[in-house]
Symmetry: C2
Subunit: 188 residues, 2 copies
Amino acid sequence: MTNPDNMKPVEATDVESAAEKTSEPTPASGTSTITQRWKREDLIKKASPITRGICLLFSLIAFLIMVSNKHGYGRNFNDYEEYRYVLAISIISTLYTAWQTFAHFSKREIFDRRTSILVDFSGDQIVAYLLISAASSAIPLTNIFREGQDNIFTDSAASAISMAIFAFIALALSALFSGYKLSTHSFI
Amino acid sequence: MTNPDNMKPVEATDVESAAEKTSEPTPASGTSTITQRWKREDLIKKASPITRGICLLFSLIAFLIMVSNKHGYGRNFNDYEEYRYVLAISIISTLYTAWQTFAHFSKREIFDRRTSILVDFSGDQIVAYLLISAASSAIPLTNIFREGQDNIFTDSAASAISMAIFAFIALALSALFSGYKLSTHSFI
């Protein structure tokens, strides 16, 4: 046990320098963390409309490719329920993201702040579930066709499915951003 | 235009009664809205672990039914990639919800408050996407089998898929509750 008597007496200057080191963060580092947060929040705020715009684009392409996928007997998307399912969901996804994009640019607040973020959040999730469900149900059928032969019908189906998957990824990201936006709004 | 002179002069008592009606909400109604909110928040807080517990149950049943779905040549789940996909995802879902339920009851805080809600929120969503994707990919194949004949193999496959869909619904609800929980925590 060190003998407290022969310890060096604590000088006033030591105390002050220790205080300075710990108590006030230098003004520069304080503001930089706040600006960093603002930048991050600003980025997140822009991310949702951008990802929904990307989803709108991919769902529209998926719709156009699938609806034009008619190449004679046995090569008509209408003959297979999985492809009809992909077409139906790409229409729903196109309408949903078009409405969201319109509401974003027209700055029209249909609900109050919190409800509109909750509607965004659940809407993104539900449509994302539908997109992944439609794409997943059509993949096995397309694999079977492509084992047999590769033609314009199977290639169009495959590309429409890939567009649906890209639309799903964009909307799933948008759902995560909506979740983050929920966490930065204090609604208590 | 009504002539302001012959309008009834506003009495002091009218002003007071009007003020009483609007300004202070009766104390009873103030506290009841707060208790209502606490009750709702308490319900939401309990909802997530309950829905994950339900999902654990359904994914475990889906796993058990599918893994035991071997009934001779051509009636073995292992011969079909869609059924292997359902089996793999039900294992992942069982492990994820088991970990979440364990973490909930052992009160072990692996992350800080906000990160743990964000991990819950994204984890629920990703596993829910996998569940709906696996179930959707196996449905068309099972429909084709059941057009031909109904036997223990197709019935087992159909019940495993239904369990996977129930597990998905439970986890999708849990993801919505996690989103709501995010919105009631001010993390600014």
